[in-house]
Amino acid sequence: MDSPHSDRVVDDARLSRVVSGLLVICQLLAVAGVVSGLLVGGAAGRLLSAAGVLALIGGPFLALVRIGVFAGRRRSTLVGYVLGTLAVAMLGAWLAR
């Protein structure tokens, strides 16, 4: 953690564990959604699979929000990067509709 890039605000073992835990939960939800979707089949199955895929896609954004909340408490400029990234991603999805 002593590289010239490191920022002690976010190089926190606890934050890493929390973000890692969030990503594991998203994985479990995604697998549960896709597998149950395959088992159920039909329109309901398709809906379950879509929910699984959305749970997975939401994972990195959820992790980013958690990092932003963590950094925000320490008044880091990283909050700006987090908000900017989320805004660009959401704007892209809105423009694509």
Binding site: D11, V31, Y81, V88, A89, G92, R97
Partner: protein
């Protein structure tokens, strides 16, 4: 569905394990794999590949974060630029003249492959040099995002050289940070494709289960692999992608 569930999961397993170890998303395997195995057209393969790359990132970074191999400070900062590139490319994919773009990226990747070739380790850059290179790293990250959004790859193919060559991060930490970064990049581009209804949920979901399993296991075992060998494989991979993009660019003229 043109392929069996087992074949789709196998494509995902292969792409996930390969992508997690090298810090790329695995799109280099996923896009051709989905075209050849599942019979998807290129555009749908790119869309499904982006969803699966999120899987590689989520499973890989869950492990790398616990191992302390992700530099969150750098990752979060550069992510803004990669997501901007990926979303813009996703929105403009149909309007962009592909030929010159592919040729330019191909040349860039060839130069990067040469720079990534394993040689005697150079001294790590000083914090001042790293600070001076940050704007360049940000600009290059937009390029990584554009590659991701246009080709359905994770962008790690440029993220790793940016982190390793420009910012002087050790290779294994560069790969770990890149795996984390490609999650948001690919998710941003995947949202664009999803909003347009381009994602084949049935196929993407099944392949995604394979990438989750492959990336998780590979991230756990990958630390035992030789760094020099990994750099060699990465340089060869870059040269291969440069060749593929160059040929596609020539065909588009």
């Amino acid at each position: 569905m043109g392929a069996s569930l087992l074949e789709l999961v196998a494509v995902g397993l292969l792409a996930g394990s390969f992508g997690a170890v090298l810090g790329v998303g695995g799109g280099i395997i996923l896009v051709p794999g989905l075209i050849l195995v599942a019979g998807l057209p290129f555009h749908s393969a790119v869309a499904a590949s982006l969803v699966c790359i999120v899987g590689t990132s989520v499973a890989g970074s869950a492990v790398y974060l616990r191992q302390g191999r992700v530099d969150l400070a750098v990752g979060v900062r550069l992510q803004l630029f990669t997501v901007f590139g990926a979303v813009t490319a996703g929105l403009l994919a149909a309007q962009v003249p592909a030929g010159p773009l592919y040729m330019a990226f191909s040349l860039l990747l060839l130069i990067t492959a040469y720079r990534m070739w394993p040689r005697r380790p150079a001294a790590a850059p000083s914090p001042e040099v790293v600070r001076e290179r940050r704007p360049l790293a940000a600009g290059a990250s937009v390029g990584a995002g554009v590659i991701s959004g246009l080709l359905g790859v994770g962008g790690g193919i440029l993220n790793v050289p940016i982190l390793h060559l420009l910012l002087g991060m050790p290779f294994d930490r560069s790969a770990g940070t890149s795996v984390y970064m490609i999650g948001v990049t690919a998710a941003g581009a995947a949202l664009v494709y999803l909003a347009r209804g381009d994602v084949e949920i049935g196929i993407a979901g099944v392949v995604m289960v394979g990438t989750l399993a492959g990336a998780g296991v590979a991230a756990l075992l990958g630390r035992r692999l030789d760094q020099r060998a990994l750099k060699l494989i990465f340089a060869l991979l870059l040269a291969y992608v440069a060749f593929r993009m160059g040929s596609r660019g020539l065909a588009a003229f």
